[in-house]
């Protein structure tokens, strides 16, 4: 019913309701199931309109990464990997919704911080170590900095944010740092 939909809508920050199969059945136009449409538009031949029987559809990373919202993002591959269930960037509808729910404006800071951490954690070892930072930096600057500069910046980052002095950033360190960032919330979000 409409009432519960509104609550759903509220809770999942406007992106949520489209995913539930029952809503698709109800064919409610409020809020517009944009996200599902976007997902389906990536590969109309693969994605069925009817999600009642929970089809196991995955869109390959090539399709996800070519979305205009992501295609200029240096971390698109990481984003897709982190949010996809198989860890390789191939996404189900739920993964897709997950991704945009986290990256939505309404998602809380801690959640965003958690996923940001995962995105920057290239080798999935739950710590941001030097190699992760170097990769991040090189992606950010398109390898424009010299090796010395990269090394120096990474050292500085660890020096600044590493609270327990273990030479790498744990999620805790990262969150401690990121909650103080003035524009983390405004930059870590994607409008769709």
């Amino acid at each position: 019913s409409l009432k519960s939909l509104i609550i759903l809508f509220d809770i999942e920050s406007g992106y949520y309701p489209v995913c539930t199969s029952d809503i698709l059945q109800v064919q409610l136009s409020f809020p517009p199931p944009r996200l599902f449409d976007r997902y389906r538009d990536l590969a109309p031949q693969l994605v069925p309109l009817d999600y009642t029987d929970q089809p196991d559809v995955r869109l390959p990373y090539e399709l996800i990464g070519s979305m205009p919202e992501l295609k200029d993002n240096p971390f698109r591959q990481r984003i897709a990997e982190v949010f996809s269930e198989d860890g390789e960037g191939n996404m189900t509808l739920d993964d897709f919704l997950d991704m945009f729910s986290v990256l939505s404006e309404m998602a809380p800071r801690d959640l965003k911080a958690y996923y940001a951490f995962k995105i920057y954690d290239f080798n999935n070892d739950d710590f941001l170590c030097k190699s992760d930072l170097e990769k991040t930096l090189n992606k950010l600057t398109r390898n424009e900095l010299t090796e010395d500069e990269v090394r120096m910046v990474c050292e500085k980052v660890i020096d600044e944010a590493d609270l327990d002095n273990d030479g790498r950033l744990s999620l805790e360190d990262f969150q401690h740092m990121i909650v103080r960032a003035p524009d983390f919330l405004s930059t870590f979000h994607i409008r769709i």
């Binding site: 019913s1 860890g87 991040t136 327990d164 744990s170 930059t187």
Partner: protein, 929 residues
């Protein structure tokens, strides 16, 4: 060991609190509510076994249980891994290791349940409710409200205690719903949870007589969302309204904030000039055009007969002679009628007030901007504790969705990193301080010498030119005539690069070097200004002499005419002499002459600037770019290369240009309009030039956050240009036959007239008192005292600020130390624990302590505090090191007394507990899958 194991798990569950609940929930649908409620009413969910999900549950529970006994070791996985595995459990049945722990927990819980089942007398009722819900979506969908109402009927028979516990449960569900978004779980799981919780709440809220406000709540939420969206759009709109924001951002991204600071300054200047123009145009020019006498009506508005032939010649017009001179652009055109038009607009008064008001407004704006800028504070290099970390993790804007913007963003991120690196390098630099000091003194000495030399040269040349002025003009050669200009431009050409070269001796940070450079060139340009004003005052004095004689002649002529007329016609009713306005003899009108000088200067300045850009930058870039194909050496890397953007020159050009405008605006009201046009075109022109022909500086540096140095220079120039204008207004008599003040002894007499004629008498009295020296002196004294007082307080604040900053830094260090310490002590305890005999029951250490291969602890040499945690358990050395560290720390004892159990803040109830099980279970395998 099993008991210990269990204990461990219990502790963990406490630690993670609600998270674990959630986790268990995800295990199976049927158990959701039960698990959720477990801390308070664990046994309530009596018969989950009848639900559809039973089979699934069963197979989740049992299969792992067997294995759980075998390998409890690997149960200690990170929270999130578990959760992920949970998912995979659901999907694929049996796979991952993390499940085992969960299984254990569930098992435990079931035991608990068993115990409680006996107690729960009315467990059935609730069980039924739960069961119904557990039945899944389809039923929920169909039944909707009806089921809930039916339930509520049942629930009416509940006892008081049941009601409260139910209430609690509902509240808890609600809390879960509210916080569900914060959990880093997979969408599927969240969805399921959400649905269940919601259904539960929906059902039981009815029983408790709640849920009326939901519609209102939903509405509120919607409005909040709309509001957010609106605010966002409004912000976007506001940004879009800032002129040239994108252009400047683009420049900034490629050339750094220092170059952008020039453009920001230019934009600010444009805004200021727009306001000045509005004043001038709206209160002086427009009234005169609309209501004043038209061109040709009176002598001052007519081109003299002698000049009329050539008045439209382009060469004359370019010199601002001819029609230009007798136009609205200049002082002389304005009439001295006290009021004009039907509105009785007091033009002369307005002219004077606007002329002074421009200064007043500019002063106010400059000072206010300076104050606001200094409020934002900071001298460039931000001393925040996370400069680089913020840059690395928050600088990419995930909103960027177009390649061009992305390119710019890449460039700007790189630039900003470079800026910060330069700052950092400067911070770290500490070499021979004595040598540096000596070099700096030497450099300053050299520059003082060259400044003094050029000052003397200017003085000498001006003196000579005055001598030349007394000689016959024909005898002088071209060089002698233009000596002053020649020397000035030569100095302007040679000195700045010279200063820059000398400044390299000093090895200042580029930002500070820029300030020095600005100050030095400013001093040089002051010489320029001085010669210009000197020449101008000479000219004005000459004109005043000439005017005096013409005025006498005119008065004499008029008297002649009147006496002749009266004697001839024998009447006292004498009409004014019937002469065409173009034929009337007039004075030189020094004000207009001064105005023309300023306009000429401004125009030539514009020409020079634009030509310099065209030749010095554009042509050079063209040559370097295209001749490079057929040249002996590499032009791009070698000698000419591309130009850098000359920040100091451009800023000073802008500042001195503004000084000209301020000085000239009183004598040439059109000058402000001209300047607005200039700034407008130069914004586009220079943006284009810098983007197409210049390369970024070798060391891109961050501009100081406040443009206060520019502003300070501007304020100085404003003050310097205020002096001559106020001097002329207060002391020199206005021309007798041109301008709004003609016929008065002094320009400010207009104000006196107004006070006497138009305002009530008491205001005149007040004015007289107010101008009394006896009142002014105490007022000045008071102001001086106030300034002193405020200065003193601000100094105090500054000190306090510094103190606080220091304290913050100390607190931060301390915190770091303490954490460090705690880690270390924990580490020590851990190691001790590892040494215990029952250690053999623990999982093989080799497997778990394996450090992730990526971690290279090269910092060890830099700070001895770094504990090699991964390897600490293996070698005894680590313990020793940590002991040393803990001794060095401020309060080691306090840290040691801390129990080794759940570590630090990992118990907070958000997300997955960060770094779960630091000590033993930390050995997460590097690759998750």
């Amino acid at each position: 060991m099993p008991s210990q194991k269990k204990n461990d798990i219990a502790i963990r569950m406490e630690d993670v609190g609600i998270e674990i609940d959630g986790e268990l929930d995800s295990g199976s649908e049927g158990k959701n509510r039960k698990a959720k409620a477990s801390p308070r009413a664990g046994g309530r969910n009596g018969k989950p076994a009848t639900t559809e999900d039973e089979e699934e549950e069963e197979d989740q529970d049992e299969a792992p249980r067997k294995r759980a006994r075998k390998k409890k070791a690997s149960a200690q996985d990170s929270e999130e891994e578990e959760e992920e595995d949970d998912r995979s459990v659901k999907r694929k049945g049996t796979k991952a290791a993390g499940r085992k722990k969960k299984a254990v927990k569930e098992e435990e819980e079931e035991e608990e349940e068993q115990g409680k089942k006996k107690k729960g007398g009315k467990g059935d009722a609730k069980g039924k409710g739960g069961k119904e819900k557990g039945n899944g979506k389809d039923k929920k969908k169909k039944n909707g409200n009806s089921s809930s109402s039916g339930e509520s009927g049942d629930e009416d028979s509940l006892s008081e205690g049941e009601m409260t516990s139910l209430k609690e449960e509902v509240e808890e569900k609600k809390k879960l719903i509210a916080t569900l978004r914060n959990k880093p779980w997979r969408m599927k799981r969240r969805l399921k949870l959400l649905k269940e919780c919601q259904a539960f709440v929906e059902e039981f809220e009815g029983a408790l007589g709640k849920g009326k406000g939901r519609k209102l709540y939903a509405y509120k939420v919607m409005m909040a969302k709309k509001m957010i969206k609106f605010n966002r759009d409004f912000d976007n709109f506001k940004t879009a309204c800032i002129p040239w924001e994108r252009k400047i951002k683009e420049v900034e991204s490629h050339f750094g904030s220092s170059v952008a600071s020039y453009f920001i300054f230019l934009r600010w200047m444009y805004g200021l000039n727009l306001v000045l123009f509005a004043f001038m145009f709206g209160l002086v020019v427009l009234p005169e055009v609309m209501m004043g006498l038209p061109y040709g009506s009176i002598p001052r508005k007519t081109v003299p007969r002698a000049e009329q032939d050539r008045a439209m010649d382009i060469s004359v017009l370019l010199d601002f002679g001819g029609y230009c001179k007798y136009s609205i652009l200049f002082y002389g055109f304005y009439n001295d009628e006290r009021t004009i038009g039907v509105l009785q607009f007091r033009l002369p008064l307005s002219y004077l007030l606007v002329g002074l008001g421009i200064f007043g407004y500019s002063l106010m704006v400059v000072i206010r901007t300076m104050a606001r800028n200094s409020d934002e504070g900071g001298d460039g290099g931000d001393d925040g504790q996370f400069t680089f970390a913020f840059k690395m993790f928050t600088s990419w804007d995930y909103l960027i969705g177009n390649p061009e913007t992305a390119d710019n963003k890449y460039a700007s991120i790189t630039t900003s990193f470079k800026e910060s690196i330069v700052d950092e390098q400067e911070n770290q630099k500490d070499e021979n301080i004595h040598l540096r000091r000596f070099l700096r003194v030497l450099a300053n000495f050299l520059i003082l010498c060259s400044l003094g030399g050029s000052g003397f040269l200017i003085y000498f040349v001006v003196k000579r030119s005055q001598e030349f002025a007394n000689l016959d003009q024909d005898e002088l050669s071209w060089f002698e005539k233009n000596e002053v200009e020649f020397v000035m431009s030569l100095l302007g050409l040679v000195c700045p690069p010279l200063f820059e070269t000398i400044a390299e001796l000093e090895e200042y940070h580029p930002r500070i070097a820029l300030k020095w450079q600005l100050g030095r060139i400013f001093a040089l340009f002051l010489g320029n200004l001085y010669t210009f004003l000197f020449a101008l005052f000479d000219e004005v004095n000459a004109k005043l002499e000439k005017e005096k004689s013409i005025r006498n002649a005119t008065i004499w002529g008029l008297n002649e005419y009147y006496s002749n007329y009266s004697s001839y016609h024998n009447t006292t009713d004498i009409p004014p002499p019937d002469i065409h306005p173009a034929d009337v003899i007039r004075g030189p009108c020094w004000e207009t002459a001064v105005g023309i000088e300023f306009v000429k200067l401004t125009v030539s300045d514009i020409q020079v600037t634009y030509m310099t850009i065209l030749i010095g930058d554009f042509l050079r870039a063209m040559i370097v770019r295209f001749l490079n194909y057929c040249w002996c050496w590499d032009l791009e890397a070698g000698f000419p290369s591309y130009g850098e953007f000359d920040i100091s020159g451009n800023v000073l050009g802008l500042i001195f240009n503004q000084g000209m405008i301020w000085m000239g605006a009183f004598y040439a009201p059109g000058l402000v309009g001209l300047n607005v046009l200039r700034l407008l075109t130069s914004m586009y022109y220079q943006c284009w030039a810098v983007m197409s022909c210049n390369v970024p500086h070798e060391r891109v540096f961050k501009a100081s956050k406040s443009n206060n140095f520019y502003m300070g220079l501007l304020l100085l120039v404003l003050f310097l240009s205020l002096l001559p204008v106020v001097y002329t207004i207060m002391t020199l008599p206005p021309s007798f036959d041109c301008g709004p003040f003609s016929g008065r002894e002094q320009m400010y007499n207009v104000v006196m007239e107004t006070i006497e004629n138009d305002l009530p008498a008491f205001i005149g009295n007040i004015f007289t008192y107010a101008t009394n020296p006896g009142l002014i002196l105490p007022a000045v004294l008071l102001m001086v005292l106030a300034i002193y007082y405020l200065n003193a307080t601000s100094k105090n604040y500054q000190n306090a600020n510094l103190e606080l900053k220091k304290k913050m830094q100390m607190a931060r260090d301390e915190e770091k130390n303490r954490r460090n310490n705690k880690e270390n002590t924990n580490q020590v305890m851990q190691d001790l624990e590892d040494l215990l005999p029952n250690r053999s029951l623990l999982p093989p250490a080799a497997e778990e302590e394996k450090p992730p291969p990526e971690i290279v602890l090269e910092k060890g040499s830099k700070s001895p505090k770094v504990a090699k945690r991964p390897g600490a358990a293996a070698n005894g050395k680590g313990v020793n090191i940590q002991k040393d560290v803990s001794l060095a720390a401020p309060n080691p004892k306090a840290a040691v007394t801390h129990p080794p159990g759940p570590r630090g803040p990992s118990g907070n109830a958000r997300g997955p507990p960060p770094g779960p099980a630091r000590g033993r279970g930390r050995g997460t395998p590097p690759s998750r899958r």
